[in-house]
């Protein structure tokens, strides 16, 4: 074979591979752009939905997944990643898409429960036997305790941890003149002074805590804590439920602009509806997220200890008010800069 023939064939082969990878997408497909720790959930949801949709409409549909830090993913969608639906873990990430004109501002009213099919809460994961005696938020701010939290600047998980601690301190000092704001600030400062590693996402923080033996407590979502205990050895860790925690609701939305262009509005809508249907809710509960459906929740009550919770709206008056915490040079920046100086 001469060199020219050889290269010709190599080129043809490369083009064939390229073409084959494109052709594989001929059937209807949805792209679900989601956050970091929903991977396992959607691995189960997607085939279940595909089967249900096939039964109902006779259409084949496949759902493709993209996972990453919640804000990073929202940003990618804003910059042109063609998501038919977004399933995030905090509302601001969807509001960003509203700002960029990708979907309508009323997305919260398009689905039940503020367009959020499930919630979860922030809990603590501690080493077996809880050697440091960590029971509640106060213990995390104690001297000598090391806490692993993902970076609140870039991770929804870390952000909820920060807000949970803040809300806890607010509630405890509500009788003060300023409603506890100064005390909350001091408390959160103390807690973050105990954080030796800020990973980029919830999964990174888990690896640091479980695989690198760093820290006495990991603050993360309940579903994550249960998954860790199951996947990485329940004999090494205990889950601790604090006296009160934040309720993190995961919002979902159809990205109108993309769905309209790709002609997938029907399927996208049905996909998200499926999350709220009993079948979807059961899968959600199985992955240790707290389902919205009363019946499903009741059936799984033993897995979800009832504790007092508050929402971002209740403790802070909405996500708009939270912005001043995480903006550049905002309260979080001031706190951590002061804590480490």
């Amino acid at each position: 074979m001469s060199a020219r023939q050889y290269w010709g064939r190599a080129l043809a082969a490369a083009l064939f591979v390229l073409g084959a990878s494109m052709g594989a997408r001929a059937q209807t497909s949805l792209l679900n752009v989601s956050y970091d720790v929903s991977r396992e959930l959607y691995k189960d949801i997607n085939p279940a939905f595909a089967a249900r949709w096939k039964a109902e409409s006779g259409e084949e549909v496949s759902v493709r997944q993209s996972h990453g830090g919640s804000s990073k993913q929202a940003l990618a969608v804003a910059a042109g990643l063609e998501a038919d639906v977004v399933t995030m873990n905090q509302a601001p990430d969807i509001d960003l898409l509203v700002e960029r004109g990708a979907l309508a501002a009323d997305w919260r009213r398009r689905f039940p429960h503020g367009a959020s099919p499930y919630t979860t809460i922030s809990v603590f994961l501690v080493r077996k036997g809880n050697p440091k005696g960590i029971k509640d938020w106060d213990d995390l701010a104690r001297a000598g305790v090391r806490v692993i939290v993902p970076n609140p600047k870039v991770s929804g998980n870390g952000r909820y941890t920060y807000l949970a601690a803040w809300g806890y301190a607010l509630g405890k000092n509500a009788q003060e003149k300023d409603g506890g704001a100064a005390a909350a600030r001091e408390f959160v400062r103390g807690l973050f002074a105990n954080v030796p590693v800020l990973d980029g996402g919830g999964r990174g923080a888990t690896t640091t805590f479980t695989q690198r033996d760093t820290g006495d407590a990991l603050v993360t979502f309940e579903n994550e804590a249960i998954l860790i205990a199951r996947e990485l050895g329940g004999d090494r860790f205990d889950i601790v439920y604090p006296s009160v925690s934040i309720e993190a609701s995961a919002p979902v939305a159809v990205v109108d602009k993309v769905a309209a262009r790709r002609g997938t509005q029907r399927q996208a809508r049905a996909y998200l509806d499926f999350l709220f249907a009993p079948e979807g809710q059961e899968i959600i509960a199985r992955h240790s997220f707290r389902p919205r459906d009363e019946g499903v929740l009741a059936r799984n009550a033993s897995r979800f200890p009832a504790i007092r919770t508050f929402t971002v709206e209740q403790a802070f008056g909405g996500w708009d008010k939270v912005r001043e915490h995480f903006a550049d040079g905002g309260i979080y920046d001031q706190i951590v800069s002061a804590a480490k100086r």
Binding site: V154, G200, Q211, R212, D333
Partner: protein, 276 residues
């Protein structure tokens, strides 16, 4: 060399291809950074790039990159010396593996280094006995940067060392000059330009490194946040102008340092009469 008449053809074609490709792939996209950052007023720009956390990250990134390049200059030099001058078991393997950091994906390197140097890792557990913690500390950043920068020094010093004229050394020996003095006064000056080139390349690569550092650094504000992380952090908060502003400062500082070191290198090259 005078401006000779061009006998060879293809100057227009080759330079044209070069400039077109360079503009399309490098210059045009890079200019977008500067344009995006110009969305900010000068005062805003200054506020973004001089924020305490960002300042701390410059200090860490540039400080650690310099330190890593310096460590590589010393140990890379020793490695190159051993590879050229000595026979020992396993030399071929060592020589081949020097380039590993070029070829190994940075994320893989970062994960592997973290696993090694965490306090329950192979190396970390022994360091822990001496109360030295590497992973999740600024020291971890240094380890990662040393890893990625090593081949640059070895691969620039090695060929010069191989080509070195040994007559000077023989002359020194016949005059009764000791090996150490010969090294310092005869060999080192010749190696210096190459060593500086290697140092510069290692440094430039280290400043921008992201993938491997991020796993091992700990990423604590004011303590172990590198500049590329600051850029990513800003990006993920939808702050494009802020991100590009920091990126711009980073580009400018590395260029300034590169020019400085390149100038230094040209100067030493002239001094030692080895214009390479």
């Amino acid at each position: 060399m005078s401006k000779t008449t061009r006998v060879l053809p293809g100057f227009g074609l080759s330079l044209g291809v070069t400039l077109t490709w360079l503009s399309l792939i490098v210059l045009l996209p890079l200019s977008s950074v500067f344009l995006k950052a110009s969305d900010l007023s000068l005062a805003e720009f200054w506020k973004v790039v001089s924020a305490p956390r960002v300042m701390a990250s410059y200090k860490l990134s540039f400080g650690m990159s310099l330190a890593a390049a310096a460590i590589n200059a010393v140990f890379g030099m020793i490695l190159a010396w051993c590879l050229v001058r000595y026979r020992f078991f396993g030399k071929r393997l060592v020589d081949a593996l020097i380039d590993l950091p070029f070829a190994l994906p940075t994320a893989v390197a970062g994960i592997a280094l973290t696993a090694l140097y965490a306090k329950n890792g192979w190396v970390g557990q022994y360091l822990a006995l001496f109360d030295i913690q590497v992973a999740f500390k600024p020291l971890g950043v240094l380890v990662a940067l040393v890893f990625i920068g090593l081949p640059f020094v070895v691969r620039t010093v090695q060929p010069v060392l191989e080509d070195l004229d040994i007559e000077h050394e023989e002359a020194a020996a016949s005059l009764g000059v000791g090996r150490w003095r010969t090294f310092r006064h005869v060999i080192l000056p010749v190696l210096l330009p190459a060593l500086l080139t290697g140092f510069t390349l290692a440094f430039a690569r280290a400043v921008g490194e992201y993938g491997s550092v991020i796993f091992i650094a700990g990423n604590i504000p004011m303590v172990s946040e590198i500049v590329p992380l600051m850029i990513i952090t800003k990006l993920e908060q939808y702050d494009y102008p802020g991100a590009t502003a920091v990126a711009e400062v980073m580009l400018l500082i590395s260029f300034a340092l590169l020019f400085l070191i390149n100038g230094l290198q040209a100067w030493t090259a002239r001094r030692t009469g080895r214009d390479r």
